[in-house]
Point group: C2
Chain length 427, copies 2
C-alpha cells in the first residue's frame, strides 16, 4: 500500500543502521503518507510533525541507542506519555498531560525508537468507537479498541504501533486491517502507565506490517529475544480449533481457515482437528463477567465524578459490573483457572492452534468496531495469539487467521506465525 | 494511645450512624491528635485541615452514602488522588496532581469515606525511607514502605489507612507499629491508579487499630462481605511455620510466637508445627528477582529521564533488574507457580499458618525501614496475610505475629486473626 524506501520495519532499521537512510527521511515519508491519507483514515489522536522530525534529526545526530534506533512507533492513546496528551478515547482526558511515560513508551525511547504520535482508541478501550476508518474501505471499521494503531500500520503511515487487548482489541483490528497483530502471554509486556480496564485481562501487544517486524518490537518491549532461534522452522503441527463460537464465523472466515489449512499442508505442515473440552464453553461469559467486574472498579472515579462524559453503553456496563456479586466473579476466575490447567493437554500434539481471528471482513463503521467473539476466551486464558494476515474475503477486504500458542510459548507461536505468513505470501 | 469519643473505627462509624457523633467532631479529634503528635511522628505527606473539615461537614449534611459514611481514611501517597498531590515518595513528583483517583480512593469516596490526606511512603515503595518515625519511640522506624499509614493509625491520628505490599510493606510496619495490617490475596483489591512497582507482586491492603476495623474497610474495597460470617468462630487449627528465614528472628519474635501459641492453645485452638517443602527455600530469592525485573520496567521513565533524582540504592536495584536475563525471571516465576501448587497440601490440616511478621522490634530509624525477610515469600505466593498486634518485645515495643491463609481464604484468615486478636486482648 506504500511506495517508500522502506517496505518493512526491519528494512528501514537495516537501512538506517547501514547509513543508507536517515531517520529524518524515513519519518518524512511516514508524515507524507499521513498528510495524504489521514483525512480519510483518521488514525491519529495526536501528531506533531515538527516535533517528530526534530526527534528523528536528533537520532541521526547520535550514536545508535539500541534495536529501534531512529524508527517511528505509534502509541495507542491509552498509554501515558509525559510529552504528548493522553486522552484514553474520552473527553474527560481531552487535554490531559501525564507526569510520566508508560513503561513501554520509556522502553521504546530507551531503544532509540521515536514515539511518532498517539493513535485513536475507543473510549477507555471499550466499545464506543473513535472516528478511525478502515484504510481498505472508509465505510468500514478498522476494529477496536486499538483502532488507530491497526489502521496507521495497515496504511503505511508508521511501521509499528502499540496496542492492548482486554477482549479482542489487537487480534480483531489486525484481522480487519490486514496486518500482523501479536498479543503476548499475559504479563509478558509491562502494563505500567497503561490506563487499566480490567487488570487480569489487559495485555500489551504490537502491530506491524508483517510477523518479523512484530517480533522485533515485541522483543524490545518484553526484554526477550523473539527473533528466529532456529536456522529454519520445521513445518509445524497445527490443531484446527473451531472454538465454541464457531457459529459466529461467516463464509469469509471459513474460507480463510480452509486456505490456511491448505497452505500449511501444502508446505509440509500437519493439521488435525482439535476440539476444546466442554468446560471451555463457559469461558466466553466468564471473560465478560471478569471484565465488567474489574472495570467497574478501575473506572470508579470516571463513573462517579464524570458520568455525564461517559457513553451510555460504557455507563451501563460499569453499573452492571458494580452490582455483580463477588461470587459470580470468583466463579468466573475459577472457570478460567480450571481451563488454563487443561492447556498442556490441549497442546500435547500441536505446536499451535489455528482459529478465526474475527467473524469475517470488517463490518460497516456505523455498526461499531465488530465482535471480539473469537478473541475473548484466549485473552482470558492468557495464551499468546498472533493474527496472520494475507488472505481476503469476498469483497477483497482482509481476513486474518489466528494462531494460538500455549502459555509462555510465545517464541514458538511467533515462529509458526512467521512460517505461515511467508507461505501465504508465496502462495 | 488516644482519648477520644471513638475507640475504634467501628465505634466511630456506629456513633455517626446513630447521630451521636458528627463526622466533623470525629475529624476534629483526628486533627487535634495530628496537631499534637505530627512534629514527632511525621506521618503525613499532605494534609489540609480546612478541607478535611469541610468534607466532614458535607457528609454530616447528607444522607449516608455507604458503609464508610463520614469516616476519615488516610491514603498512602502512592495512590493517585485528583484533588491532592501524589508524590510517590520522590522529588520527581513533588507537586504532581494526577488527573484521576485511584480505584480504591474512588471506592472510599463512593462509600461515604473521607480521604483525610496522604501518608508518607518510601521512594516508590522501595527502601529509601521518608521522615516518618515510630509513634512508640521516635528513634525507631515505623517500617516501610507504608510508613506514614502504619504510624498514623498507630498514633490514633486516623482510624484507617491504605497501604501496599510488594515485599513486606504492610505486615512489617503493622508489626513495628502495633496495628492490624491486612494484605489480601493477590488481586482481591483493584490496583488501578497505584504507581506500579512490580505488577505481579503489588498488593493493596489496609491498616486499622484492630482486626474488626480492618475487615470493614477491606470489605468495602474488595466488594466482598468480610464481616464475621459465623455466630462464633470455632477455635482454629493453626500450623506453626517457622519458614526458611527463621534464623533472622530475634528473641522478641520467638517470644511473641510462643505467647501466641500459648494463647491459641489456652483458648481451645490447636497448634501443630508445619514445615515448608524444600522447594520453598528458593522463594526468597525468586521474589527479589521478580521484583527488580518488573520494577526496572515499571520505573524505566524515572530511571532514564530523572535518574539524578533517584536514590543511589534504587538506581542500583533498577539497573540490576534491567540487565537480568529474562530466563532468570522466568525461572523465578516457575518456582513461584510450583510452590503455589503445593499450598493446598500445606493447608490440609491448618486453617491458617502462624509465622513471624518481622524479625523483632522496630530497629533504629537511622538503619532504614527494617527487613521484609518474613514477608517476601508470602507476597510472592499471593496468600492473604494479617499482622495481629497485641504483644510486645523486651523494650516494650510492639511485636506482631503473622497469620497466613490459603489463596482466596481471606475470610477465614481474617476470622482467625479476629479470634486471636480478641484472645490476646483478654490475655
Amino acid at each position: 500500500m506504500t511506495s517508500t524506501t522502506w517496505r518493512t520495519a526491519l528494512d528501514g532499521l537495516a537501512a538506517i543502521g547501514a547509513g543508507e537512510l536517515t531517520s529524518e527521511a524515513l519519518m518524512r515519508e511516514c508524515l507524507q503518507r499521513v498528510a495524504v491519507r489521514e483525512p480519510d483514515v483518521a488514525a491519529w489522536q495526536y501528531l506533531d510533525e515538527d516535533r517528530a522530525l526534530e526527534e528523528a534529526r536528533r537520532r541521526d545526530a547520535s550514536a545508535s541507542r539500541g534495536p529501534l534506533h531512529g524508527m517511528p512507533v505509534a502509541v495507542k492513546d491509552l498509554f501515558s506519555t509525559h510529552d504528548m496528551p493522553t486522552g484514553c478515547g474520552s473527553d474527560i482526558y481531552a487535554d490531559h498531560l501525564p507526569a510520566s511515560d508508560a513503561a513501554v513508551v520509556a522502553l521504546i525511547r530507551r531503544a532509540g525508537g521515536i514515539v511518532m504520535g498517539k493513535t485513536v482508541t475507543t473510549e477507555f478501550a471499550f466499545f464506543s468507537p473513535g472516528g478511525t476508518r478502515n484504510p481498505h474501505d472508509p465505510t468500514r471499521t478498522p476494529g477496536g479498541s486499538s483502532s488507530g494503531s491497526a489502521a496507521a500500520v495497515a496504511d503505511g503511515m508508521v511501521p509499528w504501533a502499540l496496542g492492548t487487548q482486554t477482549a479482542g482489541s489487537i487480534i480483531r483490528p489486525a484481522s480487519y486491517c490486514g496486518v500482523a497483530g501479536y498479543k503476548p502471554t499475559y504479563g509478558l509486556i509491562n502494563t505500567a502507565g497503561l490506563k487499566p480496564a480490567a487488570w487480569s485481562l489487559d495485555t500489551v501487544g504490537v502491530f506491524a506490517r508483517n510477523v518479523p517486524d512484530a517480533r522485533q518490537l515485541a522483543g524490545v518491549l518484553s526484554g526477550r529475544d523473539l527473533t528466529p532461534s532456529r536456522p529454519a522452522t520445521p513445518p509445524p503441527r497445527v490443531g484446527l480449533c473451531l472454538t465454541p463460537q464457531w457459529e459466529a464465523a461467516t463464509a469469509d472466515t471459513e474460507q480463510a481457515l480452509r486456505e490456511a489449512v491448505r497452505c500449511i499442508r501444502g508446505a509440509g505442515g500437519e493439521v488435525h482437528e482439535v476440539s476444546l473440552p466442554a468446560s471451555f464453553d463457559e469461558l466466553l461469559e466468564a471473560q465478560r463477567t471478569i471484565m465488567i467486574y474489574e472495570a467497574s472498579r478501575s473506572l470508579a472515579f470516571e463513573r462517579d465524578l464524570h458520568g455525564d462524559q461517559l457513553s451510555d453503553q460504557l455507563k451501563a456496563l460499569l453499573d452492571e459490573g458494580s452490582v455483580l456479586p463477588a461470587e459470580r466473579y470468583d466463579q468466573a476466575r475459577r472457570i478460567a483457572r480450571a481451563c488454563r490447567a487443561e492447556l498442556d493437554r490441549l497442546f500435547a500434539d500441536s505446536d499451535v492452534l489455528l482459529a478465526p481471528s474475527a467473524p469475517g471482513e470488517a463490518p460497516a463503521h456505523v455498526t461499531g468496531t465488530g465482535d471480539p467473539v473469537f478473541n475473548r476466551i484466549w485473552t482470558l486464558l492468557g495464551t499468546p495469539c498472533v493474527n496472520v494476515p494475507g488472505l481476503t474475503g469476498a469483497n477483497g477486504m482482509p481476513v486474518g487467521v489466528q494462531l494460538i500458542g500455549p502459555l509462555d510459548g510465545d517464541l514458538t507461536t511467533l515462529e509458526v506465525a512467521d512460517w505461515l505468513f511467508s507461505r501465504l505470501q508465496e502462495g
